[in-house]
Amino acid sequence: MHIDLKKELTKSGGGRFGVALLLLIVLMAIFAPLLAGYDPTGQSRSAFQSPCLSHLLGTNHVGQDIWSQLVYGARTSLLVGLSVAFLTTVLSALMGASAALIGGLYESIVMRVVDALIVIPVIIVLILVAAYLQPSLWILIILLSLLGWQGGARIVRSQALSLKERMHVSAARCFGGSRLYLIYRHIVPDLSPILLVEFIYSMRRAIFMEAGLAFLGIADPSIVSWGMMMREALDFSYLNVWLWWLLPAGIALSLTIVSITFIGYTLEPEMEPRLRGEVHA
C-alpha cells in the first residue's frame, strides 16, 4: 500500500505531462503579481484594445488588462480547487472511516445519506442556495465541500472495512492498542493512497464547478476568475474580441482540468485497481 509518489508520477508519459502542466499553472498563480503587469481589477486606458506589447491580450469591455486577469484567475481556480479538495477529503475520511469502524445503525444511516447525495444534482442545489445567499468565495468553498464528500466516503468505508480485518491491525489490537491509536497509526496511513486519489478528483470537480458557477454569474464579483471572464466575453461574441479574451480563459481552465485528469488517471490504478470507475463521479 505504501507508494513512491514521485516514481509513480514520472513513470508514464501521461503522468509527466500532467505534473509539468499543473506545475506551470501553479507557478503562474504564485508569481501572478510579477507576471501580470497591471492590477486585474483596475482600469487601464481604454476598452476593447487589441493585443499589443503593453497589453498582451488586449483589454476588456471596461478597460481591464486581460492577460493580468488570466494570470490572477489561476489563483482563484487553484484556491477553490485545493481548499475544496482538502475539506472534501477530510470529510470523506471522517464519514467513511467512522462508518466502517463504528458500524451498526450509524453506518446504515451514513451510507443511506451517501447514496442519496450521489443521485442529487449538485449544481442545481448550488444554484438554488446561491440564489438566496449570494455566496462569497469561502461560502462557496464550504458549500462545494459539503456537497462533494459522498463518493469518497463510500470508497474510504469499503477500504477501511477490509483494513480493519487485516493481520497487522488485529495484532495491534491484541497488544492493547486503543481505538484512537489504531485509527491514527494504522488505518489512516493505509488509507492515504485512496485519500490522495480522492483529493485529486475533488480538486478537479471543484475547479470545474467554480468556473461553471462563475460563468452563470454565481460568484464574488470582486474576485477575478476564468469562469467570470468567459461570461463577460460571451456577451461580446459579435466582436472578434473572443479570440484573445474568451479563448485564453477557456483554454487556461481546460488545461488546468486536463492536467489534473492526467495525474489522477496515472495514480488511480497504481493505488487501488478496484477504484476504477468509482472515482469518476
Binding site: G14, R112, V113, D115, A116, L117, I118, V119, I120, P121, V122, I123, I124, V125, I127, L128, V129, A130, A131, Y132, F208, A211, G212, F215, L216, G217, I218, M230, L234, S237, Y238, W242, L246, L247, G250, L253, S254, L255, I257, V258, S259, I260, T261, F262, Y265, R276, G277, H280, A281
Partner: protein, 323 residues
C-alpha cells in the same frame, strides 16, 4: 440489482430535496413570503392576496404543520406559482421539458453508444499506438468543460462560419411544417447536441476500456478463441457485451451530469429547455421555478437509476441468480 435498499435511497434523496426546497426560503431572515416568491413578486401583491398566501402556505402555523401543507401540495402536482412567468410553475416546467428531453436524451444515447464502441475498440487493441492516441485524446477532451466546448462551437460554426443558427430551438414565426420544420429543429439542435455529446463521450469510453481490459483476460475469451469464433463475434458479443455493464449501471448518475451539462449548453445557445429556464429564473430570482426544476430533475435522475436497476439483470443474467 433491484432491491428495497435502492427504493429507500431514492425516498431519502427525494425527501432531502423537498426539505431543502421547504427550509431554505423559510430560514431566510425577513418576510417568508418574500423569500418564497422573490422580491419582484411581492411588490405586485395586494394585502388580500398576501393574507390568502399566508393561509395557503400555513405560514402562521408551526413549522411541521407548514411542511405537511407543502408536502401534500407537491404531491398533488402543485409546485407553486411563478410571478415572473405569471403561470403555475408546473406548467412553466412542462412547457420547457420536451426540449431538454430531446437534447439530453439524444446526447446521452449518442455519447453512451460512441463511448462504448470506442472503448471496445480501444481496449481490444490495448497498448497499441491507436489505443494510446485514443486514450490521450479522449482524456484531454474530458478536461474541457461542456460550456467551453459549447462556446467554441457557437463562435466557430455559428458566429464566424454562419452554418448553424445562434440561438433558440426553432426559427420564430417561420410557419414551417412537416419536413422543413424537422430540418429547422435539427439545425438548431446540432450545435448544442454536439457540445453535450463531445463533453460526455469520455466517461463511457474510459469505463468501457477499463472493463474491456479485465474482461479480455477472462477464461471464456480463451474458450471463444479456441472455438474459432470470428474476431467480430469475440470483440462485440463476448467481450463487448460484458464491458458495457458498468456503463449501464452508471446511466442514472450520468443522466444527472448530462442534465447539468445541458444547463450550461442551453444557456449558451439560448435553447429553451429546463437549463435555460433555470438561468432565467436565477437572473429574475424566481425561486419557485428553481425549486421546481430541482425537484423535476431529481425525479428524472431517480427514475433513470431505477430503470438502470431493472435493465441490469436482463443484460447480465448472473445478477438475478446472485441472491
Amino acid at each position: 440489482m433491484f432491491s428495497r435498499r435502492n427504493l429507500v435511497t431514492y425516498a431519502i434523496a427525494l425527501l432531502l430535496i423537498l426539505a431543502l426546497n421547504f427550509l431554505l426560503p423559510r430560514m431566510m431572515p425577513g418576510d417568508p413570503l418574500m423569500a418564497i416568491y422573490g422580491e419582484e413578486a411581492l411588490v405586485q401583491m395586494t394585502p388580500e392576496l398576501k393574507a390568502g398566501l399566508v393561509d395557503r402556505f400555513a405560514l402562521d402555523q408551526p413549522l411541521w404543520h407548514q411542511f405537511g401543507t407543502y408536502f401534500t401540495a407537491v404531491f398533488q402536482g402543485d409546485l407553486g406559482y411563478s410571478y415572473y412567468y405569471n403561470a403555475p410553475v408546473f406548467e412553466v416546467i412542462l412547457g420547457r421539458l420536451p426540449w431538454t428531453l430531446l437534447l439530453v436524451g439524444l446526447s446521452l444515447i449518442l455519447a453512451t453508444l460512441l463511448g462504448i464502441v470506442l472503448g471496445i475498440e480501444s481496449g481490444w487493441r490495448r497498448g497499441s499506438k491507436s489505443d494510446r492516441t485514443m486514450l490521450a485524446g479522449l482524456m484531454a477532451l474530458n478536461g474541457f468543460p461542456d460550456f467551453f466546448i459549447g462556446m467554441v462551437l457557437l463562435l466557430v460554426f455559428g458566429v464566424t462560419l454562419g452554418i448553424f443558427p445562434l440561438a433558440g430551438a426553432l426559427t420564430p414565426y417561420s410557419g414551417l411544417s412537416g419536413g422543413a420544420l424537422l430540418v429547422d429543429v435539427l439545425k438548431h439542435l446540432a450545435l448544442p447536441l454536439a457540445a453535450l455529446t463531445l463533453a460526455h463521450v469520455a466517461g463511457g469510453y474510459l469505463l468501457t476500456r477499463n472493463t474491456m481490459i479485465t474482461v479480455l483476460k477472462e477464461p471464456y475469451m480463451l474458450t471463444a478463441k479456441a472455438k474459432g469464433l470470428s474476431q467480430r463475434a469475440m470483440k462485440y458479443r463476448h467481450a463487448g457485451r460484458n464491458s458495457m455493464l458498468p456503463v449501464i449501471t452508471r446511466t442514472g448518475i450520468w443522466l444527472g451530469r448530462v442534465v447539468t451539462g445541458a444547463l450550461f449548453v442551453e444557456m449558451i445557445f439560448s435553447y429553451p429547455g429546463l437549463g435555460y429556464l433555470t438561468y432565467e429564473a436565477l437572473l429574475a430570482r424566481d425561486y419557485p421555478v428553481i425549486e421546481g426544476v430541482l425537484l423535476v430533475v431529481a425525479i428524472f435522475v431517480l427514475v433513470a437509476n431505477f430503470l438502470a436497476d431493472l435493465t441490469y439483470p436482463k443484460l447480465d443474467p448472473r445478477v438475478s441468480y446472485a441472491h
